[in-house]
């Protein structure tokens, strides 16, 4: 627990019990709400209880590292209550989709926790960073609660083709008569979700490879380094197209690889080369530190050195890189989908939505630009946040 001496000396804090009781009340409310939602389904109720329990354990464990204040507690409780209020107001939608309801609640509380934890830094953020954070939050919320927010289901054909805006279909319908707004909302979930998974995989491969390379050196470093050099010599879009054309319908042990898995793996591998470079460079500077030497002398193994010594100290540049890589993967994935080689129909996806309805643009209709604009807005948002983060952590300034 990090409490500065000044704050620790201040007696003005409200009793911790007040906030604890209010938090407990919120959780009780959650349980009751959930039991109501799933009263017909015992298994879902049990799973839900486990989920809540596990989640509250995580929250409470994290609580200890939290610089708590009454304002922070209030923020969390208020946000949760607002969400509850929404759930009560739109009871039909929320109660029909308990999982999305809970996912949404999870996101709300996680965001509130993070905001309270980093409030001191956040307060000084420039307007561009605030804009970025609001945009990212908005997208994450939409993605989490897509089925609740969307008026129809993802692939449902609800009307004639290319219906105009307004009326029953807020943004009209697409080339097959599916609701645009619904597709847009589900597109957020699919495109962002897949890009996120891909980026995580790329960081797993690249980060591990880079740290291994830095920690072991010698021939492992040489082999990995040269392999990455060669992979990076081929432009990634071209390489991805080559691999996609070869491995579509590829089967391992008689099992067909799902096209989505193939897509994720190919992009992750191609993208991990950049992560590798960064992780290796950062790791190189860390493994020569005295404390790593000490750990090695103490007899710690390779895994310990990588996970306990190198990784925690390499975090800030890697986190910033995660944002940038996510943008890149996101754009890359959309580009592939736009070319018709990415996420396959009928899954709603922003890139392929532009492609399928592009003819509308030549009639002066801007609807197909909406998903493209959505992609642009999210990448701009993430870039703004990363820009600010980099500025903060590295003192990267050009005012000399």
């Amino acid at each position: 627990m990090t409490v500065t001496t000044m704050e620790g000396a201040l007696p003005a804090r409200p009793s911790p019990w007040a906030s604890r009781i209010s938090v407990a009340a919120v959780y009780l409310f959650v349980v009751v709400l959930f039991l109501q939602i799933v009263r017909d389904d015992t298994l879902a109720a049990i799973l839900g209880l486990l989920l809540i329990h596990g989640y509250s354990v995580i929250v409470l464990l994290y609580w200890r590292n939290l610089e708590r204040s009454a304002a922070g507690d209030k923020a969390i409780v208020t946000l949760t209550l607002v969400y509850m209020l929404l759930a009560v107001l739109f009871w039909d939608r929320f109660s029909a989709l308990p999982w999305s309801t809970f996912f949404g609640l999870f996101v709300v509380q996680a965001v509130a926790l993070l905001a309270v934890r980093f409030w001191k830094n956040l307060r000084k953020a420039p307007p561009t960073a605030w804009f970025g954070m609001v945009v990212v939050l908005f997208y994450v919320m939409i993605a989490a609660t897509a089925p609740i927010v969307a008026p129809f289901t993802e692939t449902e054909i609800v009307g004639a083709e290319y219906e105009p805006w307004g009326g029953q279909f807020l943004l009209g319908t697409d080339n097959l008569g599916r609701d645009w707004l619904t597709r847009l909302i589900y597109g957020a979930r699919n495109t962002i979700g897949i890009a996120f998974v891909t980026t995580c995989l790329a960081f797993l491969i690249g980060g591990l490879g880079g740290f291994l390379s830095a920690a072991l050196g010698g021939w492992v470093d040489q082999i990995l380094g040269r392999a990455v050099d060669v992979l990076m010599a081929i432009p990634s879009l071209i390489f991805a197209l080559l691999l996609l054309s070869i491995f579509t319908n590829y089967s391992v042990f008689g099992l067909k690889i799902h096209p989505m898995v193939l897509l994720v793996v190919i992009i992750a591998v191609l993208d991990s080369t950049r992560v590798f470079r960064l992780a290796r460079a950062v790791g190189m500077n860390i493994v020569v530190m005295d404390y790593v030497e000490v750990a090695r002398l103490r007899g710690e193994g390779l895994w310990w050195v990588i996970t306990r010594e190198v990784m925690p100290n390499a975090m800030p540049p890697l986190v910033a890189e995660f944002g940038l890589r996510f943008c890149f993967v996101f754009l890359f994935l959309s580009a592939l989908s736009f070319l018709g080689l990415g996420i396959q129909p009928p899954t709603a996806d922003w890139g392929s939505m532009v492609r399928d309805n592009a003819t509308l643009i030549t009639f002066g209709d801007i609807t197909p630009l909406l998903p493209a604009g959505a992609i642009a807005l999210l990448t701009v948002g993430v870039n703004f946040v990363v820009d600010w983060f980099l500025h903060q952590t590295s003192g990267l300034r050009d005012d000399h």
């Binding site: 561009t128 050099d229 060669v230 010599a233 081929i234 432009p235 879009l237 071209i238 390489f239 197209l241 080559l242 691999l243 996609l244 054309s245 070869i246 579509t248 319908n249 590829y250 089967s251 943008c327 754009l331 959309s334 580009a335 736009f338 070319l339 018709g340 080689l341 890139g351 532009v354 592009a358 643009i361 030549t362 009639f363 002066g364 801007i366 197909p368 630009l369 493209a372 604009g373 992609i375 642009a376 990448t379 701009v380 993430v382 870039n383 703004f384 820009d387 050009d398 005012d399 000399h400």
Partner: protein
Amino acid sequence: MDKILKMVAQRLALGLLTLFVVSLIIFFSVQLLPGDVCQEILGQAQTPETVAACRRELRLNLPWYERYISWLFGILQGDMGRSLANQREISELIGKRLGNTFFLAAFAAVLSVPVALVLGVMAALYRNSPFDRIVNALTLSSISFPEFFVAYILILFFAVQLGWFPSISNVSADLGFWERIYRTALPSLTLMLVVVAHMMRMTRAAIINLLASPYIEMANLKGLTRMHIIVHHALPNALAPIINVVVINLAYLVVGVVIAEVVFVYPGLGQLLVDSVAKRDIPVVQASCMIFAATYILLNLTADVLAIATNPRLMHPR
């Protein structure tokens, strides 16, 4: 001077080696397919004839090293085999399209390099002014835009609403130069908007980086104007990184044309590649990938060599 020649020779050798390894990868990644490669590629669409044609095209009757050597020498001599989809000579398919693609990339480069350099120098000159901030925010946004978004916005404004340019750039060999420029205006503009941002930011960063050095302070103390300092003192020394980023962006342009070509239905190599991937026409995919990769590698190599050649410390050793 010897040192430079030696370094350049080293880079060239390394580049050729990379090119060789890349050709190995492009050729042999197809052989990773388990079982009969041709049946695997053709899948549902196979008939005995198509399988036989595919085997002939991929030269499956030869041992792997002969196969590779004959493929590589074929490409070097301009003979890339036949397409699986329509049995036409690949070199014939690629020939004109390659010219079109290079034309588009060159056009975009001619548009974007001066704009990027001027904007970069201006932003460095008026650092932290509203102009600098606006240009910065704009370029950061335009880096984040997907290319097809930029392309369709341009179509919406310049083709649909204003009607200045055609929304489809169908060019053929018999077009005059200016007609060709007119038809490729929108795709080039798209590409320009995509690469200018990066080039401009790098130019700005390179110049600002130099402004911290002692000789700039000296020039300042002498009472020179900011414009004079930047153009006469900072720019020549920032040349190496700037040339580097320009060439790297040119390399990006050659690859980045793929999306622009698809949006504007421009008969270039990128479109052919995308179509062939969809049809799983492996020989065409391999040949176009090889061309793209070779261009990319050669341009990057040029960037390396130019960076060495424009480094004042190496050019004028003590």
